[in-house]
């Protein structure tokens, strides 16, 4: 299998600031997501990385600056930017797993009947839960629910797949498995992915570029090229992990001096 080709810029954010309820969550963020790449947003909890992702999805709008998809400013949420959330309740509880995908195809792509079912089955096969198609979401494990959500999101052939800490609520073993499988899914589909995480290991393992965000009001401190470190056993992987850690975690002495300065 050939690796998907990473191409020209697809999503460009420039000077993005986002405020809500009088709170400035993101302050002047600049980033470029290239077509076909896996782009990771990493930062401390509550730093605004989810806010930025929601703005790409269209749930929030920048108060300053702009986010463009293929040169066009992002509008309302739509199936060309499907989102996979962290919560396990994102599949509709009243539909079977297969029906969740079939329904989404009907709403977003006007695809119905056997064609929709065939496509839905293919998507469940892609994420490895074809056998669970007739089950209701509450009958699945957390990992399988996330796979179902990924299947539904990919079925709509989005121009970009947005993932908000999709594996954040999973146990460590399931999480590692899903990280591996997400890479395989990406190789098969070549879909552009923006993934939010607070795991350094996940960021380096999955990302081609990792944008490191500061605490609120968040800015992007540095965008690190991690495309050469997809193998966890290499020195490069360690080096990049250390580099991200140094950007994210302030040493005690530095924090102390910051505190004294504030006081």
């Amino acid at each position: 299998m050939t690796e998907p080709v990473i191409g020209e810029p697809l999503v460009v954010g420039s000077g993005v600031a986002i405020e809500y309820d009088g709170f400035r969550a993101v302050d002047s963020a600049d980033f470029v997501v290239r077509r076909g790449e896996k782009f990771v947003l990493i930062g401390p909890s509550g730093c605004g990385k989810t806010t930025l992702l929601k703005a790409i999805a269209g749930f929030l709008h920048p108060t300053a600056g702009s986010i463009r998809l293929d040169g066009v400013p992002i509008g309302e949420p739509g199936p060309d930017r499907t989102v996979v959330f962290q919560d396990f309740d994102q599949l509709f509880a009243w539909r079977t797993v297969l029906d969740n995908v079939v329904y989404a195809l009907g709403v977003a792509k006007e695809m119905r009947g056997e064609a929709a079912r065939e496509r839905a089955r293919a998507m469940l096969r892609l994420v490895g839960i074809e056998a669970a198609g007739d089950k209701y979401p509450h009958q699945l494990s957390g990992g399988m629910k996330q796979r179902g959500a990924i299947a539904r999101a990919l079925a709509l052939e989005p121009r970009i797949l947005l993932m908000d800490e999709p594996f954040g609520a999973l146990d460590a073993i399931t999480r590692s498995q899903l990280q591996l499988d997400l890479n395989a899914i990406w190789r098969e589909t070549g879909v552009t992915i923006v993934l939010v995480t607070h795991s350094i290991q996940e960021a380096v393992f999955l990302g081609h570029h990792v944008a490191v965000m500061s605490t609120t009001p968040a800015r992007i401190v540095e965008t690190v090229d991690t495309s050469a470190a997809q193998d966890m056993d290499t020195p490069e992987f360690l080096r990049l992990s250390h580099h991200l850690r140094s950007l994210l975690i302030t040493p005690d002495s530095a924090r102390h001096s910051v505190q004294t300065a504030v006081e």
Binding site: A57, P77, V83, Q90, V107
Partner: protein, 265 residues
């Protein structure tokens, strides 16, 4: 693995246990009537009541009265539920709708629907339309309040998924909001049924007094008029049995919906 039950009573199957309790209560009732020499005008014996039930089911009186009551009740419940859903949907989509629902609920919900009956009679006369009107009023609020609560407790994630798919308007309500709020909606419908049921029987009793005809309340009131005490009991038994059947109906609907979907155990 089932734990061994020490209590011998609990080893019996549940339907058998309930049957025994019911039979024992009936036996006590029968013994009281047989041995206390209480006037048959005051208390009918279970055998007399069963006899009367049989006669009035066979001659069509009870089926006709039951159908009449159910027809009135279901008409009112249907109108009330639709208005309730509409109000709750309006409250989700607009802040004016939300305030409208809040005000209407606060003002009208505490009113027992039966208290509106005199006004309804002035407006609609001694007709079924009066009863349907007050049943509607009795059922709007439980449906509206519970549906509204159900809509408001839908998770932010579910709402974002719906928006992400591009759902809006009526399709959003029917395809996502209603099923997601189903546990609350069923609770609302159950409460509405109970309110409507009480209201319709009470109204029919009043109508019986006023000389109009039809329904189980009227059946009971006529029996009182002729001092047919077993017939009064028969009417009460029918009302009770219908209540149990409807409870069963709701359980069946729940097990096919919210229980299957894992929203309720």
């Amino acid at each position: 693995m089932r734990a061994r039950v020490r209590d011998p009573w609990l080893r019996l199957p549940a339907p058998l246990r309930y049957a025994i309790v019911i039979l024992a209560l009936l036996a006590i009732w029968q013994a009281y009537v047989s041995f206390s020499h209480v006037s048959a005008l005051l208390v009918g014996s279970p055998l007399d009541v069963a006899n009367q039930l049989w006669t009035d089911v066979a001659n069509g009186k009870i089926p006709a009265a039951t159908l009449h009551t159910l027809h009135t009740l279901l008409t009112g419940l249907l109108i009330g539920a639709l208005i309730g859903f509409a109000l709750a949907s309006l409250a989700v989509f607009s802040s004016v709708g939300r305030d409208l629902l809040a005000v209407l609920t606060a003002v009208l919900n505490p009113l027992p629907a039966i208290a509106i009956l005199p006004l309804a009679i002035i407006w609609f006369g001694l007709s079924d339309r009066s009863i349907i009107f007050i049943v509607t009023l009795a059922t709007i609020w439980p449906v509206a309040i519970n549906t509204d609560t159900g809509f408001r407790t839908i998770s932010a994630t579910t709402q974002m998924v719906a928006r992400n798919l591009g759902l809006r308007g009526p399709r959003l309500v029917v395809d996502v909001l209603l099923p997601a709020a189903m546990p609350y909606i069923l609770t609302g419908l159950k409460t509405a049924w109970a309110f409507g049921w009480r209201t319709v029987v009470a109204a029919e009793l009043v109508f019986g007094v006023a000389g109009s005809q039809g329904g189980l309340g009227w059946y009971i009131n006529t029996a009182r008029y002729y001092l047919q005490t077993p017939q009064i009991f028969a009417g009460l038994v029918v009302i009770s049995i219908l209540g149990i059947l409807v409870e069963g109906l709701f359980s069946a609907v729940e097990s096919r919906t919210v229980v299957r979907w894992g929203m309720k155990r």
